[in-house]
Symmetry: C2
């Protein structure tokens, strides 16, 4: 008998029929004898509608009243889910954030969870009643409603699991797990049975939009096993059909590379013939930081224009015009000859905790790309990740080659 | 400086533009120096949508979870109204039922208010912050969300006014007051500036669907002046543009007849040649009470079929088939010869507290109808009301004649 937190996302709560389907999964776990807490998102689209109302009332609205409005979406689904469970013969009761309570900071619209009182939840276990908790919601110490920011329901679920020392947190969503690469681009992509938190963080921040990054960090900090699985099939969490996130040291066999990520959301900028003097980096990136533009990969090298060095870096593609404007405005202060920019680039990354203990992973990547005639325009690495910038049109070819080279095809 | 409760119904909250318009009325009252509490309904249509979700989940649903779902509609508008007030420079904050708290019985879906803690509300007055309270909502002593039943927002508003000993409760709605008769039928119908609670109760129960009956009873019990007024025009409550409900003994001049009501929602049934024996009424109305059918006007008279008496009574038109079924099934037990039924009837009523002290009011009505050749099929009276049943096609003619006879045209 395990303690489980089962979380259902917006597409799993989209309408009464989907809610009934989700309730069947909960009922199946209860029947197997597990202690279950359910966490729910709002119906797909509802939160957007509520945000629209707020924006129509006031361009700059009071975040604490936004929270009152936005939190209502999960209140609705928590009540409906409790009804659906009762209909299946499972005793259930909804518990709003203030009723538990889930205490948060008072940073409205993006509150952080301070504490979850587990006493009431545990009393529900004793009475064999399933508590249904709205995700996304909390309450400040002085009793005002808060929300955790978009996608916050994942965080609520993991926090509940951490507070209850649950055996697992199952996140039911519209994908059936984490894949070795994007199956739309790489036919041989396979579902990963288990993945380390750190790998998931790298994949998440690299563009795999499955779990809110914050919820993965929280799971890692509290060592909560989290399973990502589909709410559409017939399998339930205890059948372990999805991808399980766990601690690196609990991975039986560490793969050299666990998965590939890619992002087309990049633009490349090269400043040529830069003066080679101290403080030059600050001169370049200061104005960009002020404009709230995130710089990612940075490379310095021999100049295309004479003796001085060139500097190449990437920014989000949507920020390219603003970046060029900020740089041009500061040309004299920075000191460069030309700006060369291109949006025709993609970032491809290999991720795996096995890299920590294996040399040569990067070399395999560079060789595989060279064999296909793909030029590497920039490189960035972390302990468990190597990213390269390439011409966008080579994205699929690069992913397929790397998928094969790192043994992910089999 | 007065203490006012301003309540806005669903059509006044229908969309962000309407909410902004309602907020302007609140702001105008605040500007005049009044202490204001705002009570809001859900956006028009939202509660129906939420009820539909519940019904789609379970035919017989848990009323306490229904309350969790249904209460969310007013939560949304309370937050939006607070934002809209802030946008106009008025300090405002939403307060849910559980935050005040508004304590109710635990009869979910139709809870009754036990107590409203006014301490927090008064602290808002001191800080010059307008509390925006969702109507319809409450909380049980053990912290579960409740709702007061459909139309319960009026009751919330009046209860808030009673608890705060407010000078007036303004109910903003989609009509601009209570009329001497239905203006669609009687062109000369006029808005009534003030009306006694008892008169409003008779009018409300007779079919004028302006205020929830329960809220009028509550206003009467606590002697809360209630103004019904339109949220569409430019006037605000303190201009007294609507109809004011107040105690009979505060009416300066008592009209003989204050207004006329009519209802086409009636059906007439006559049982002929009934045995004249004790217990006969119980034999007739027992089966109807069991079938939950409300019997209204009852007349006994000489029979159309021989010596024994006939009995005539009315039931809601929608219940006619079920009524006939129940009577036919019990024909032997009741003992009657024939059933004659007709849905071609209307009930026309004159209402006025002045009747208490004036004889001849009924006689004026009977004569006026006789002058127009309108046959009276049944009569029912209370201290302040006379109702007659007539052929439906004469409804307009009857209303117009009575409107003139009782001096309401001028």
């Amino acid at each position: 008998m395990s303690t489980l937190v089962l979380k259902f996302g917006g597409t799993s709560m989209a309408d009464p029929a989907r809610i009934r389907k989700a309730a069947e999964k909960v009922a199946a776990e209860v029947k197997r004898g597990h202690k279950v807490v359910v966490a729910v998102s709002a119906m797909a689209g509802v939160t957007n509608q509520l945000v629209e109302y707020c924006r129509a009332i006031a361009e700059i609205y009071d975040p604490s009243e936004y929270d009152v409005v936005a939190a209502s979406g999960e209140q609705v689904t928590s009540g409906l889910m409790a009804m659906a469970l009762q209909q299946l013969g499972v005793e259930a009761e909804s518990l709003q954030g203030w009723q538990i309570p889930i205490t948060t900071t008072s940073a409205h619209e993006k509150a952080r969870i301070d504490n979850i009182d587990t006493e009431k939840l545990k009393s529900y276990f004793k009475r064999k009643v399933v508590p249904v908790v709205p995700g996304f919601q909390g309450v400040t110490r002085d009793g005002r409603i808060t929300t955790l920011g978009r996608g916050g329901s994942d965080t609520s679920a993991v926090a509940l699991a951490a507070a209850l020392k649950a055996d697992r947190c199952d996140i039911y969503t519209d994908v059936d797990g984490v894949y070795t690469s994007d199956p739309r681009l790489v036919k041989k992509a396979r579902k990963i049975p288990s993945i380390a938190y750190e790998e998931m963080l790298e994949l998440a921040s690299l563009g795999a939009k499955i779990l809110q990054t914050r919820s993965v960090e929280l799971a890692m900090n509290y060592n909560v096993p989290v399973q990502v699985l589909s709410s559409f099939g017939d399998a339930v969490g205890s059948d372990m059909p999805g991808t399980l996130l766990k601690a690196e040291d609990e991975m039986m066999e560490k793969q050299l590379v666990t998965g590939l990520a890619h992002s087309r959301d990049e633009a490349k900028i090269t400043l040529t013939a830069m003066a080679d003097r101290p403080g030059i980096s600050a001169a370049v990136f200061g104005p960009l930081a002020e404009a709230n533009i995130n710089v990612d990969m940075i490379v310095q090298g021999a100049s295309q224009d004479g003796d001085a060095a060139d500097m190449t870096f990437t920014v989000p593609r949507a920020d390219l015009p603003r970046t060029l404007e900020a740089l041009n405005k500061n040309q004299d202060k920075i000191g460069f000859k030309r700006i060369i920019s291109s949006a025709d680039v993609a970032k491809v990354s290999v991720v795996g905790v096995g890299m920590r203990s294996h040399a040569g992973v990067a070399q395999m990547m560079f060789k595989a790309l060279a064999d296909k005639g793909i030029n590497i325009q920039a490189i960035a690495t972390s302990e468990i990740k190597i990213s390269v910038l390439i011409e966008e049109s080579y994205t699929e070819l690069a992913l397929r080659s790397l998928h094969k080279v790192y043994g992910l095809d089999s």
